[in-house]
Symmetry: C2
Subunit: 281 residues, 2 copies
């Protein structure tokens, strides 16, 4: 039995494509309509089994959807959700997959068209890759999806959005948009900045001699620059706070090295190992 | 045909164990003698096929070796090489696998016992794991090993050490100890520090929400603290220089975020992506 007749996905890259593949592979949706601007990307997504139909016209794509997921860079989420809300049927549930939530939810929480609901989502999955060719039907399996309902959100819609992500194999955690943004500033956005700065600061002539340590530490720096610039700008206050905190421990380590202070050097490494070991691989 | 009758490995952890496994798996050595302090580790190494014989007595273990590889934390390399040089046969070649070279080579370059040669090595391979249970016979396959001969090193011994690492599947690059240390400060030691500081600076309550970005960026922070403290102390001048440079780009990014300077944010991310993409995965 299909859980949804028609699901529309706006933006069929790694995340949108993986949502579609998971829905189709698990037989959860009758139709998955891929909506995007580029015909070539849409064609690729359909060929890869990420969507069953495609269109470049958003209003047409969402006209019969019970569920719309906007999976675009964060600056496009608000206008696209508004556009979808104006064209989808009453009772339709809208969500997104953006890495920031405070601004998006604040703008959309003021209310959409009658009978249409938006609940923010952020699947903590993804990679430095982009495009539907990297989409996987198990991308959300055993991953965490943060949803960010507010005081205005109806309990029924929270249950619907939870059920959606759970159907794709994910665990769902609810928190406020602000708390979400503070958390991912520390766990994702600041790490991305540090990886990019480290990669950029490495002299070119040394690159042939990097090994797995550098490769791991800088991997996310390969991510799309436009996507990440938007994320960092939307969440800049919280990211700055995380980076300020990092700058303090960096100063402490530089002082420890300058003074050849063995216990201080070891102590800073130990604090890192403790947290890293607490998480596992 | 065996290329070496007897090879001695001092320290049978990840690196020493992998040297032994590679030698035995490729039929390159008649006997591989594992030397260490702990009988339990030596037993494990033998059971895993990393060595064919073991002893806790260094002088006895190297007595018939044509080749001795010291694979211990960097602070132990010099005393162990000296001890081995005093007990091994004339014509024996000694090397190490330490992540720092300047101090080690400077102390040993003054000369060992007559007819015994030391050439520094650093295989750019390894991981955040330690112990013989992680040893692999292909750890050096298609990896780079830096060797650090000096003006005193005999050409014959450079050729011998090159041939050794090449036989294990690695490519070999020769450079001065100082240049090696400056390079790995940027490509390995500073990245390790940043990964550890990032892991340590992440609030504990956020750890359940980390995803692949944090996991990759902090992976090396799980490495052994004692091993890394020694490396950082031995190479602290070059590491400090790398961290000072990093602190400057970190300041630039904090300023760009504080001023919401989109081109500056994107430019810093772009510089990182350019270097990261130049290397591949």
């Amino acid at each position: 039995m299909k859980r949804w007749d028609t699901v529309a996905i706006v933006g069929v890259g790694l995340i949108g494509g993986s949502v579609g593949r998971a829905l189709l592979a698990r037989g959860l949706a009758g139709r998955v309509i891929g909506i995007g601007r580029r015909a070539s990307t849409l064609r690729k997504a359909r060929q890869l089994g990420a969507v069953s139909e495609t269109t470049t016209r958003l209003a047409q794509g969402v006209a019969e959807a019970q569920l719309v997921i906007v999976c675009t860079p964060v600056d496009s989420v608000v206008p696209l959700v508004r556009e979808a809300a104006a064209a989808c049927p009453p009772g339709c549930l809208l969500t997104d997959a953006g890495s920031t939530k405070a601004r998006i939810v604040a703008e959309l929480d003021a209310g959409l068209d009658q009978g249409v609901a938006f609940v923010g989502s952020h699947p903590l999955a993804g990679s430095d890759r982009s495009g539907p060719e990297w989409a996987r039907d198990d991308l959300f399996q055993d991953r965490v999806v943060v949803i960010t309902p507010t005081a205005r959100t109806r309990v029924r819609d929270v249950a619907r959005i939870r059920a959606f992500w759970r159907a794709l194999g994910a665990g769902v955690v609810a928190m406020s948009p602000r708390r979400h943004d503070e958390t991912v500033a520390a766990t994702s956005h600041a790490p991305h900045v540090l990886a990019a700065l480290l990669a950029g600061a490495t002299p070119r002539r040394y690159l042939p001699l990097v090994a797995s340590g550098w490769l791991d530490t800088t991997r996310v720096a390969g991510g799309d620059v436009e996507t990440w610039t938007q994320i960092l700008q939307q969440n800049r206050a919280a990211v700055l706070k995380s980076l300020d905190k990092f700058a303090k421990v960096l100063d402490a380590m530089r002082r420890a090295l300058a003074e050849d202070d063995r216990p201080a050097i070891a102590g800073l490494l130990e604090a890192g190992k403790r947290n890293r070991d607490a998480v596992g691989n």
